[in-house]
């Protein structure tokens, strides 16, 4: 069920008739700087994925472009998904949000069942056969953003709300409960990184929804207390703690917990200003950095493209975030604004955490770099998120307040 793109009836244009002319006009009204940034990131991403993988594939006698081809396929599917989502009337999503959320949670439950598979120490995959596998936690992020936006955007029936007050305690509790379910399931995998992203999304969206400062302060305090509790009650496994803290001083255990952090830092640092040239990174070619096509892909950019290339990726991601914020600001309704803001919180936090960990200023958790890392589920989820931004943008108020 695809909704048309309204042209004149921006706000009330439910199911308005659409024509080719309308469509062309809609295309023109897409956020092209966002699209250009994403295309540029995708091109860089394809190059970096190839650089990170070709040497090892060639060594194993496989097609050196194997990962590249799969990545291009993922990107193609991702762009298509994004295009479809951008053409949807996002307001209709309100109806589907619970379904997306429910499916994602079901997937997360399935992951913990025998259907799940462990890849790289994290039990976060469902193998579909034929070489396809799904990571439900990626889609849980999308589901949570839409569901929270729906919950926090407007007062629920029969509960009039003071415009200044923002969501009240009941909304907050419900929002936390909704976020808590997937977060707990993800944590059980265990996937600390995604749990942190979900936390950042909840906190960010509550803030954007206008929750009172004292509630926000209370929530932040609660999160800190919870973190302390997890820490002191020993709920984390020793290797998780070691990995988490190794970033501060990787030299302490350069062959163990600090290995990733150390090797990542060496690879990035040795790139210098201009880098060693694409496909010419010695650290990359020697597989010194683990997970280099996924979690540590930024090290490839750092080593081979130097400060110029690494900085470019950060700036392009900055463009994406900036456009997302603009879209949130000019959204036609609170729901759209919150969806856009939620996407920004998600991508922004994940980007900062991912690049930060390769640069040694954030602890190491297993998170891909949005729009750059290799990965199917992650790419699809990211593209859907960008589609949401476009959808919100297409129905924006003509003169943003």
């Amino acid at each position: 069920m695809i909704a048309g793109i309204g042209v004149t009836d921006v706000v009330e244009g439910y199911g308005g008739r659409y024509t080719w002319r309308h469509r062309l006009a809609g295309l023109r009204r897409l956020d092209w700087s966002l699209i250009l940034a994403v295309v540029a990131l995708s091109v860089l991403s394809a190059l970096l994925v190839r650089s990170a993988t070709w040497a090892e594939l060639a060594e194993q006698g496989k097609d050196p472009d194997g990962f590249l081809k799969r990545h291009l396929l993922n990107l193609g599917i991702g762009f298509a998904l994004g295009a479809v989502v951008s053409m949807l009337d996002y307001r209709l999503l309100r109806a589907y949000a619970p379904i997306v959320y429910g499916l994602a949670c079901a997937g997360l439950v399935a992951v913990l069942s025998p259907l799940g598979k462990t890849i790289n120490g994290s039990h976060s995959w469902i193998v579909l056969g034929g070489g396809f596998q799904v990571q439900p936690s990626e889609f849980a992020k999308v589901g949570l953003v839409v569901l929270l936006a729906m919950l926090l955007a407007e007062p629920r029936d029969g509960e009039p709300r003071d415009a200044d007050a923002g969501p009240g305690p009941r909304d907050i509790v419900l929002a936390l409960a909704l976020a808590g379910a997937p977060a707990a399931l993800v944590m059980a995998q265990p996937d600390l990184g995604t749990t942190l992203v979900l936390g950042a999304v909840v906190l960010g969206m509550l803030a954007m929804a206008g929750v009172r400062k004292r509630w926000l302060a209370g929530l932040t305090g609660g999160a800190v207390l919870a973190a302390c509790a997890v820490w002191f009650l020993g709920l984390l496994k020793p290797y998780q703690i070691a990995r988490f803290t190794a970033f501060a001083n990787p030299e302490a255990d350069p062959r163990g917990a600090g290995y990733n952090a150390m090797q990542a830092r060496i690879a990035v640092g040795s790139g210098g200003v201009t880098g060693k040239g694409l496909f010419a990174g010695e650290q990359t070619g020697g597989h010194f950095v683990p997970e280099q096509q996924t979690d540590f892909i930024f090290t490839v950019a750092g080593e081979e493209l130097g400060f110029i290339g690494g900085g470019l990726i950060i700036l392009l991601l900055g463009v994406v975030l900036w456009r997302g914020l603009r879209i949130a600001s000019s959204a036609a309704d609170p729901f759209g604004a919150l969806v856009a803001a939620g996407v920004v919180c998600w991508l922004g936090f994940q980007m900062f955490e991912n690049i930060g960990m390769t640069l040694g200023i954030m602890p190491i958790t297993g998170l891909p770099l949005p729009l750059v890392s290799y990965g199917g589920s992650a790419t699809f989820a990211n593209m859907i998120a960008l589609g949401l931004l476009q959808a919100v943008h297409l129905r924006a108020r003509p003169f943003p307040a």
Binding site: A163, D164, G166, G204, A207, M208, A209, G210, Q263, R265, I266, A267, V268, G269, S270, G271, G272, V273, E282, Q283, G285, G286, H287, F288, V289, P290, G302, G306, F307, G310, G311, I314, L315, L317, G318, L321, W322, L325, A328, S329, A331, D333, P334, A337, L338, A341, V344, C345, G348, M351, F352, I355, G356, L359, G360, I361, A401
Partner: protein, 697 residues
């Protein structure tokens, strides 16, 4: 829309910009400010130095016969780094390898664990980043199995390496003289890190004793380095730099394998004979030396061992079983480290001391059955009285009482119990002139210096031991009292005496000293050198085993010249007089029996027997000799500890050695025209050696 949302979106803007700036700043810091540092770290990361060990030089005898050489051996090594990256830490690989090599995984794990103060052998004392050899003498079939199925054996390599081999030419082992090799320890490696030129590396073996240790720098060569590019798995992806190893030079020694073998056999025969006679005969040694130059021709020590036990590492259990106390500590070279009272062989020094002190060389002295020294009777050997005699005769029949007289009179002249400020102590002074009490300076490690006791030594010794002796004087020897009450009582009496006035240099001490008993200790090598000085007319030579260092291509790096000998301050006439006397020892003196039937006309051996008595032990037998008596060329000394008299056990051993040297009693002569070859053997580039022209092996 909630008005708060707009404000908060603005805040989110700021947060996003701040995050971007933080990331860019950190990126700048890493790549631009610290870029050079990380570039260096990256280079270390991917370049690994692999040490290519240099082939160690051989050790050859004077004819070029290898005493130690190398054999190509298939060695299986295990790389700990690769193993540790296996999912199971390499257990499965080691399991397979153990099955192939016919051992157990536990055994292999022991060999590749790193040595530490708490981890004893078997363990790996070298660098953890070097492949660790776990098996040498691998059968080519096993090696092929490993090499063909490399994917089943990650981290395991089979390669041809040079391994030490002991061919024992003519039956000569010379284990203690050759020494042995051990992997260099991390401490030694750290110590040498500052001076990289020495070229030690983690895989290097280092000479731990004997010639291998002393000439380590020559034999070792210089290890090569291959800098390889590696990936994170340690897989080699290319070579960055290669510096080939420089093989070590070979050491030509003055040892003659045939004479060495004869010396080893002679000592063993003497020990066997003494044991058959019921003595303990716990050790023995023989030294054959060129009297004029100090070149060592043979150094034998008993008990001995097979030096190949060191190859490929030795476990603590093997070490204890083969080389420990129960086996008589065969690592110790009794020839240079064994210290024994020299007994009558010491009299050459005492005669020289008496003459230097003014006693006429041709004087006639009484040799009664006993001589009163202070308040004690000192008896001749077996209490025999020989009447009046000259010093010549005193040496031939080994009269003791004459020397007691000299020593006692000298002691009195030095002030007796109340010594003068600077006692002359002529006997001790002459002993030191003969080189006793100090190391000879031979080119072997761990040489013992022996002991020349005098007033100073006795006081120091007393001060160091008086606490224990005084305790024993008070309490007695409780445990011994039950088993041997007489001995315990005797020891208690001695302890009492020592405790009270053990520092006093008593007349008995002086008397005992004069006949090489009491607290005098010498090494067989020291005695050989003293006899060489007697034989060569007064040159106190510095013994040398090494003769020359020759490169693998045959060029001579250097000849090893013995240092300039010291002059013995003894009149040539006195030495000639003593030589003449000692020449009669084998014809009509204490060694006449041992040399009966020996063709003295062909080679006249001169020598002196010695029988050292130690309370509670069997006698130590000595024979110190030189030949030919008229124009001495070689010195041969033998000692058999805890056997019996010198004439019965040591002299026959020396006789056996001479027979091999000069080709007597049906043996083939090891010497050519009674001399050692003068030309160096040739070392061919292929590692073979040839005998110098003009001499027969």
């Amino acid at each position: 829309m909630n008005p708060k949302t707009h404000f908060r979106l603005a805040v989110l803007h700021v947060v996003v910009v701040a995050m971007l700036l933080v990331l860019l700043g950190r990126l700048w810091n890493l790549q631009v400010i610290n870029g050079e540092h990380y570039r260096q770290v990256a280079a270390q990361n991917r370049i690994r130095e692999i040490v290519v060990p240099a082939t160690r030089g051989m050790i050859l005898d004077i004819h070029g016969r290898p005493l130690v050489r190398n054999r190509a051996s298939l060695v299986v090594s295990v790389d700990r780094t690769v193993l540790s990256r296996q999912d199971d830490g390499g257990k499965a690989v080691l399991e397979r390898l153990a099955a192939t090599l016919g051992t157990t995984r536990a055994e292999l794990e022991k060999r590749i664990r790193l040595c530490s103060p708490t981890v004893k052998r078997p363990c790996w004392p070298g660098s953890p980043y070097q492949p660790i050899p776990v098996a040498d003498r691998v059968d080519p079939k096993q090696a092929l199995q490993i090499m063909e199925r490399a994917e089943e054996y990650p981290g395991v390599t089979a390669a041809v390496q040079a391994v030490r081999e002991y061919p024992e030419p003519e039956g000569a082992v010379a284990a203690q003289t050759l020494g042995y090799l051990q992997p260099i320890t991390q401490e030694e490696l750290d110590e040498r890190r500052g001076l990289k030129v020495t070229g030690y590396s983690g895989v290097d073996l280092i000479g731990r004793d004997g010639l291998e240790a002393h000439y380590d720098a020559d034999l070792r060569g210089r290890a090569g380095v291959r800098e390889v590019l590696v990936d994170s798995q340690g897989r080699v992806t290319g070579t960055a730099r290669e510096q080939p190893p420089i093989p070590g030079s070979s050491l030509v020694t003055s040892l003659d394998a045939r004479i060495q073998a004869a010396a080893e056999q002679a000592i063993k025969n003497a020990v066997d004979k003494a044991r058959q006679a019921g003595s303990k005969a716990d050790s023995g040694a023989a030294v054959v030396m060129d009297a004029r130059t100090g070149r060592v021709v043979a150094l034998a020590s008993y008990p001995t061992y097979d030096p190949s036990v060191w190859i490929g590492g030795i476990s603590q259990a093997e070490y204890d079983a083969l080389l420990g106390k129960s086996k008589g500590q065969p690592l110790i070279s009794r020839a240079i480290q064994g210290q024994f009272p020299p007994a009558s062989t010491f009299k050459i020094s005492s005669v020289a001391a008496a003459v230097a002190d003014g006693y006429p060389l041709n004087g006639v002295y009484p040799c009664p059955g006993s001589y009163r020294v202070g308040n004690r009777e000192f008896r001749n050997f077996e209490g025999q009285a020989h009447g009046n005699m000259n010093l010549h005769r005193a040496l031939v029949v080994s009269c003791d009482t004459i020397f007691y007289k000299f020593a006692y009179e000298q002691w009195l002249r030095d002030g007796g119990l109340k010594p003068v400020k600077k006692p002359k102590d002529p006997m001790a002074a002459m002993a030191r002139n003969f080189g006793f009490g100090s190391k000879t300076g031979i080119d072997l490690p761990n040489e013992a210096s022996g002991r020349i006791p005098d007033r100073t030594w006795k006081r120091e010794y007393w001060e160091a031991t008086k606490d224990d002796t005084c305790k024993a004087a008070k309490n007695g020897y409780k445990e011994l009292e039950r088993t041997a009450p007489t001995r315990a009582a005797y020891l208690k009496a001695i302890a009492k005496e020592h405790c009270a006035e053990g520092y006093v240099w008593r007349p008995g001490d002086a008397a005992n000293f004069s006949i090489g008993q009491g607290d005098v200790l010498v090494t067989p090598l020291q005695l050989a050198r003293a006899y060489a000085a007697l034989a060569n007319g007064g040159k106190l030579v510095v013994p040398r085993v090494g003769l020359a260092v020759i490169r693998p291509d045959g060029t001579v790096v250097r000849r090893i010249e013995p240092p300039e000998p010291k002059r013995l301050p003894v009149d040539g006439k006195v030495l000639a007089y003593m030589r003449k006397a000692l020449a009669e020892v084998t014809t009509q003196g204490t060694a006449a029996g041992a040399f009966s039937g020996f063709d003295l006309k062909k080679v006249h051996v001169a020598g002196k027997t010695g029988t050292a008595e130690v309370y509670g032990k069997d006698d130590t037998a000595w024979f110190a000799s030189f030949a030919p008596a008229k124009d001495p060329r070689f010195v041969v000394v033998a000692v058999i500890s805890q056997s019996g008299t010198g004439g019965t056990y040591a002299a026959p051993a020396v006789r056996e050695i001479y027979e091999t040297m000069y080709g007597l009693n049906g043996k083939k002569a090891a010497l050519v025209n009674g001399d050692l070859p003068t030309a160096l053997p040739k070392v061919n580039p292929d590692g073979s050696t040839s005998v110098p022209t003009g001499t027969a092996p």
